[in-house]
Amino acid sequence: MILEFIAVNFPYLVSVSLLLVGLYAMIVRRNLIKKIMGLNILSTSVFLYLISVAYKEGGAPPIRVSEVEVYVNPLPHALVLTGIVVALALTSFALVLTIKIYKEYGTLDSDKLMDL
């Protein structure tokens, strides 16, 4: 029963565990770069979740071929494409701010930064 549930919903469970890994890195790690890495893992988990929602049993990739009837849902794919690029922009901006913080204070430790 439980094994069957895990086997059927494996992508959802992987995305849940990736989300937990990302959140752990963001909460526990004190280095700002590692927090940004955690943010990226977290956003990857959300993309994996959306792509898994789009899947249909036996569906073809959403590119029209004359003899295929069942296609995978194309909408989440477009949304994830948007999301990946926004995550790229977010990461680059966060990295720039990290560089600025390091130049100003000489440390990336978030605990030390809180004391300043």
Binding site: P61, I63, L81, I84, V85, L88, S92, L95, V96, I99
Partner: protein, 141 residues
């Protein structure tokens, strides 16, 4: 940055093919997997490979700061311009079918989708190279 002759030779051979492949993906966006984002990132990654295998200044001479900013703005303006063209033709913003070209409306929409993909590609390839080069430049100084 550590680099050797092997890395530089392979990068010199690979970079043109990478860029050609990226352009192929951009213009084949409407008919096959791919599109502006994916192809643009591949072309941008070829510039990053150049910067990593040689040095930053050689990548900077290939696409200078001003060229990158111009490409960045051109992509965004092209997309917005296509949207405004639909307004001029009497339709709603981004309603491609209304643009008066001697074709069936469905074909006009397909053509505009291709143009939008190219606009996104130009934008993303400049942006990806730009972000990496400036972040790495900051590390060097």
């Amino acid at each position: 940055m550590m680099t050797t002759v092997v890395i530089q030779t392979i990068a010199r051979v690979v970079v043109p093919f990478l860029q050609l492949f990226g352009l192929y993906i951009i213009v084949h966006g409407p008919v096959s997997p791919g599109g502006g984002f994916q192809g643009g990132v591949i072309v941008g990654a070829s510039m990053i490979l150049l910067a990593l295998s040689y040095d930053l200044s050689s990548a900077e001479t290939k696409v200078s700061h001003k060229v990158r900013i111009a490409m960045d703005s051109t992509g965004a303006l092209l997309f917005a311009g296509i949207g405004l063209l639909c307004l001029l033709a009497g339709g709603v913003f981004l309603e491609y079918g209304i643009i008066p070209l001697p074709m069936v409306p469905a074909e006009v929409r397909g053509l505009m989708i291709l143009l939008v993909g190219v606009a996104i590609g130009i934008h993303i390839m400049a942006l990806a190279a730009s972000l990496f080069l400036h972040l790495a430049e900051e590390h060097d100084t």
